[in-house]
Point group: D2
Chain length 479, copies 4
């Protein structure tokens, strides 16, 4: 079901292009295919022969760029763009990226996907030295570090700054004379390079944005790399060589679009494998397999194939978004839930149903879907989750920073089953997930970050260490 | 694949409720689940103890009812609503329904789904007698006929009027003292009655709107019926007994939501059957079956099941709507198409693909999807259409009124195959479609209207006869 | 002082042009200078060689025509326009004019300024015969009467219709082949004809709209006339010869712009004369004369000149409109009043002030202004009203239809003085007003309607007679 | 006439209140009465017991605070606000004030009226040290200087910063624990303190904003002062004692509202004096005196009084703002001008007219008004300007920074007369202006800044010196 309910939010999507006469428009297309990574706001900074233009606003991309006028002002043959994820409150345009900084000696556009683990310390330290921040975002920090750096060239200043920020980050910067992409030392967030037919280079959070731009995939940005793109082509630099892959496994499980490839692995295929392995690990006798649309359809079809149980359309998602405010009385609130998702009575009535979902956060949504299916007449509902239990927060760019929000942090699988009202409940094993994705980097788990499942964080937690330790002691009960 | 591209437009969706303290809100929920039947505009007329309130506007339901203020003004415990389909141009709020008529002696709200075949003659005749129309819609005609009728009671005036209008119509009227539903003598358009737990009655174009309202299905409105709902309950009247079922087969094929039932047949199940029968009628050796999202997923899974060929996610639909205006240069237009639909390279590359779609109108969209798949590396693309070739226009409520728009009207299957660039192409047979749906009314085709496929119109065409005859002689070539 | 507070609302302003390549734009300019006659909504209907286009919306002209797109769609070299006055509630676009009627045999645009006294009877009769109305406006009635007429030509049908409607009306109609202006038999509302340098003819509610269009004044439309304008020029017809001038005296006192001429009399000059005569009729010893901006400035300067007492700027009107909703607490409501009008402490402190206003409706506003002046230190405030006491409602186009709203209907001048807290209060006499305007038509009061002051209505009241008689018996006290 | 045409723009208006339960609303009222000082954007920062909230947006106050929701979020019993003047382009919300800075150790709101003369040097120096600016405004500089200061207390840091910025400035700052007002050493811009009945303190650019808030005038902020307001009351500090009054004379001539007092002198009275003295200095035989609305009405009435020539309403200003974009063809552009201002033909035709205006910038507007009057039949038009010729730019807060825009910088009075087509033209003398205002501070010109008229700048010009010297050599001709 929808991630608003699930409260599993990606931090952002970023995109950049260098060398296309219609750069802002290409960026619009690219951002459109990354919209699933962020719905709070969007923006584009373009570069017209050294002059930078910016536009950003709260809302979906189609609301921000309501008509052609905004795009028309973003002149130039290079541009970077950003979509920002939706949070409750704090809806200030000040936080919408790309940021556009204008100095007496240069201008810089900056877009960021990820989360810094030492942002709070760095910001306090910078403010003590007189720095003034204009947003709540940790993205500004990089710019301050660059401007404070005593190094000789802008590239060395950038490297200096990148070595001070910790955690998960994929940056795209626009300078008057070049576009730059940089990825943290663990490569938590995906970042891919493509090339258009006219020779323009494209950088994007996901390869689906290359496809929509008509760009051919070139390579992934590697951990610790700085990619410099200008009219001469691409140059590869490194701000650090101490790198080790720890790609966010939740990108495969939930965030990324199924048509994207990350580290060479297709997301749909990985999900189908998760379903297949789940069918082997947690079989159940039933009449049909149904997936929770849209993110679990691949896993569900994998489960169906491996189990030989027919795959059916037992749940339908309404493609139109309703105003959430229109949910007043208690009686109607129930009906509000049904506006997003409907169970197909004609399909599930009287049947034993295997409901495949990608993950469980709070459990609230799962319970509602089980309810929907039972109200529609399902005789049994067996829930199968195509990833291991989410037990630990993420500090690298997913918006779960406390264990309070995670039902599995404090409850056994049997307790969760009772909470959601399922007839049985099983999760995919950690090994199953690792096998399904099948990376083989020379790193733990083949190069995946599995911290949400097992607390094995690939880096020190810096500013979050204390919060995390406190979180381990919490025993919140959910219902 | 979106119907905007397909240019197969439903005329509308209608909804009504009597006996709920929050009637306008229930109607909002109901219309939300009917939004797929019309996106041009929406409106609600409520009834507060005899005083009628109305609000209507251009746009999606969530744009029309932007915040709680509009709904709050629609007081009362009864309401009717309408969603209107999107056409190019003619975007005047004057055409948005329900219409609200205020007379010196009464007020009436009116919502209509369908198309009258004698609208032009009736309107001209009425204008000659001094009538003034305020919209382009044929819906106003009924009101004029009612007010002109010399019959003694309002019910007899209504019957008088209903016997003068010809073609396809499902009406819901709101009077101060009752709500009325009426269906044409052939039952072209679906209309179902439900009952909420508190005893309120609900009428809706599709049963999915009953589900979202928490209403239990009671029965379908039958051809020729007038359903009168007031505080006493339901009364059934007839304006004619000369009826014969001719339910629009395209509702099953394309328009209706898969979780709706029409005449007791679940739409998803009917589509899955279409896929199954299609697999038998037109088998092909391939690596995978893929459906064109979202309307063809049921048929594709049926094809996969019957053929034993794996069902794969080879096409991904972007859930976010892009501004269509942002498609300027020729080069970028191609990319604009990709914003709606993406082929999953990791899945289809190097494979023989069976692409299942529900129907082909112009062929343009099919060609683009075949292109997408081939660009993504598909070795072969075999197109299978889960309905017979569309050869004839519809005059009962679907927006295809000329054969010029229908590629199959003038081209053989082999010609179409070449046009869309497929390696093979097959359609479901008429018998296959009839069997898949499986109605058994005492009427031709079991009670289906098959006119789009074979020109066998269940009624005289009245004002359209001449246009239709001319259309038969056209030999438009498409490309 | 704003008329919102005063609740003296004009019904509308109308404008038309025939023969200008940029007709809609000329109409926009014309309506802009008539905006003071109506702020609820605005619209334009243009005529492009026989095809009529319309656009109308709620709001000020600058809100309705937000950018060039709406005007650009209104093609053609002829156009009519309308601004509608602001009422609380009933804010439906259905009532915004010009109305655009499309028939099988022709199209007609219709704009109306005035109020019909037999609208209710006519409407009921028409509905009984089957007519359907789409607005609350009485304007639609004329169109129904035209279409019902059995006369042979459209002109005779129009004459037939015009002879059935009673009360005050100035109409402009747009037909495919001509533009038509018509004025009631008493000429209650002003309507002037002008000619542009390129030969285009212009018709407008006030001559200030001719000036802004660069048109030279030709003549006033006379009572009972039908003016037909087409490419051949102007033709003058009459629907009745039984006419007698009764021009609304409140147009001179309050409604019309000071730069307009009505029946050859400049409005500013008339107002200055009212002030001069008032100074003679009601002298007072004081330090200064101040006018209530903006409508009373002319009268105040006349008073100052005739009395020899200096004219001072003692009240300043804020040129920016504030949101009225922002007036929450009792304490702040007082301050809200000051947002519109400020007393100039530096001018009035310690002084005896003569405050000249054009009229008093409820008295509320006068009391507030007297308060403002006293708070600012004025030693004495002598109120002088440049028109006689408003005692009777108007049924010909001003929005006062009950005596309850008129303080002078039920209170003596001394009572009113106490209510508004003035040190003295005097009104202009009826003779003074008639002399100040100085018309000399062969009709009572020289051709003015004085009914608001003395109940001498120039016509039967038809549907309003009963309401009026009841109103005479009401003894509402105001405070 | 309107300053848009005149291109004489004030920089801003500022307002603050401490100690009122509805502080944001009081600030809204205050800003409303300062709207004439800035129309590009508006904002408010409120203080709720130490937590600061901010809202700002482009547009008029009534557009920024469209409904009660924005104000409702601005909780607290203290608030500051800002209205910003309209410039072409550069319409970014980033420049709208008050700025709200959030630091790890405190939050600060900042509003500024004026212009710094060393902004460019300070900003470059700060950026060299690593500072990052987020707006084009020079207002941010103060905050950077405060945060960089090595002084021990925030008050000493503020003094340190205030001694580094040069030019014209009136600041209001909001801290968690107090509100602060500060004025430059010359007091270029007005800033007044008032006290509400409940004891709340108010600070505002003009006293008219005290009146609308119901606050009694306490005193003007004096040059070099820092006013600290908290729950204990008012404390007065100084950042410098080297002060000398040089109050902007154009505030009296044009900018300020007539009901405001500056340095104890009422603006209307000063203007009336300017008119009186002008009548003595430049008499002319004529039939009437007319003022250009709205800013010149006081001066015109003064001229009339002193000369004994009747004051008439010869020009009418349309109170409704038209969209300026709607001015397409050359022919219609002329008419566009008439939408703002109309000559009253009935008044001026055949007469010798004295047209009093407050000032001439480019001359374009004056020429158009003379044209209007002549077209309306005026026999002679004698232009009298109630201030000396504008010859030099202003660097302290008025938006004229080049002599190119000033016709009097390069043309004699006779040349200007010819340009504007007047029959005669005279300006008020410098002595006349000084006498009319009548300040008696121990400073040149009694404490007025007369630089626009005579180039006698009261301070060094710093960053503008070079630009100014170049400007002196320009000999731009206007027509």
């Amino acid at each position: 079901m929808s991630y608003e309910v699930k409260s599993l939010n990606e931090e952002c999507g970023i995109f950049g292009v260098w060398g296309h006469p219609d750069a802002a428009r290409v960026t619009y297309f690219g951002l459109h295919s990354l919209q699933h990574r962020g719905q709070e706001g969007a923006g584009i900074v373009s570069n017209d022969g050294g002059k930078l233009y910016g536009y950003r606003e709260l809302g979906l991309l189609s609301e921000v760029f309501k008509d052609d006028r905004q795009l028309a002002q973003l002149k130039g043959n290079a541009a970077i763009g950003h979509v920002r994820y939706a949070t409750a409150g704090n809806g200030s345009v000040d936080n919408i990226q790309p940021f556009l900084f204008k100095f007496y000696d240069c201008s810089v556009g900056l877009a960021h996907n990820g989360n810094l683990t030492n942002a709070c310390s760095l910001r306090t330290q910078l403010e003590r030295e007189g720095a003034i921040f204009h947003s709540n975002s940790d993205t500004e920090i990089l710019m301050h570090l660059i401007r404070k750096s005593k190094k000789d060239t802008w590239l060395n200043q950038l490297k200096d700054a990148l070595n001070q920020v910790k955690g998960g980050f994929a940056y795209i910067l626009m300078r008057e004379d070049c576009m730059i992409a940089a990825l943290d030392a663990n490569g938590f967030r995906p970042l891919a390079i493509g090339k258009m037919k006219n020779g323009a280079y494209v950088v994007a959070s996901e390869t689906c944005a290359l496809e929509v731009s008509g760009a051919a995939f070139v390579r992934d940005v590697q951990p610790g790399e700085i990619i410099i793109i200008n009219d001469e082509g691409i140059t590869i630099e490194h701000f650090t060589k101490e790198t080790q892959h720890a790609i966010c496994s939740m990108e495969y499980v939930y965030f990324a679009r199924p048509d994207s490839n990350i580290a060479g692995v297709n997301v749909h295929t990985a999900r189908k494998n998760m379903g297949r392995i789940l069918a082997t690990e947690a079989p159940v006798n039933a009449d049909m397999v149904i997936g929770v649309p849209n993110s679990s359809l691949s896993a569900a079809s994998g489960y169906a194939e491996a189990s030989g149980i027919p795959y059916e359309l037992g749940l339908v998602k309404n493609q139109y978004v309703a105003r959430t405010f229109i949910q007043p009385t208690q009686e109607l609130r129930e009906q509000g839930v049904r506006m997003k998702l409907s169970a197909v009575r004609g399909v599930v009535a009287g049947k034993k149903v295997i409901m495949v979902d990608d993950s469980i956060v709070r459990g609230t949504t799962s319970r509602r879907i089980v309810d929907l299916l039972k109200e529609a007449g399902a005789k049994e509902v067996h829930v199968r989750i195509a990833s291991p239990p989410l037990k630990y927060p993420c500090f690298y760019g997913i918006d779960i920073q406390t264990r309070k929000e995670l039902i599995a942090a404090n409850h056994s699988v049997e307790e969760i089953r009772q909470v959601i009202g399922a007839d049985s409940l099983s999760y995919l094993s950690e090994e199953g997930l690792i096998d399904a994705i099948g990376l083989d980097f020379d790193a733990p788990y083949g190069g995946l970050c599995m911290a949400y499942f097992n607390g094995d964080y690939p880096t020190p937690l810096y500013d979050y260490e204390e919060k995390y330790q406190a979180s381990l002691k919490e025993q919140t009960s959910f219902f």
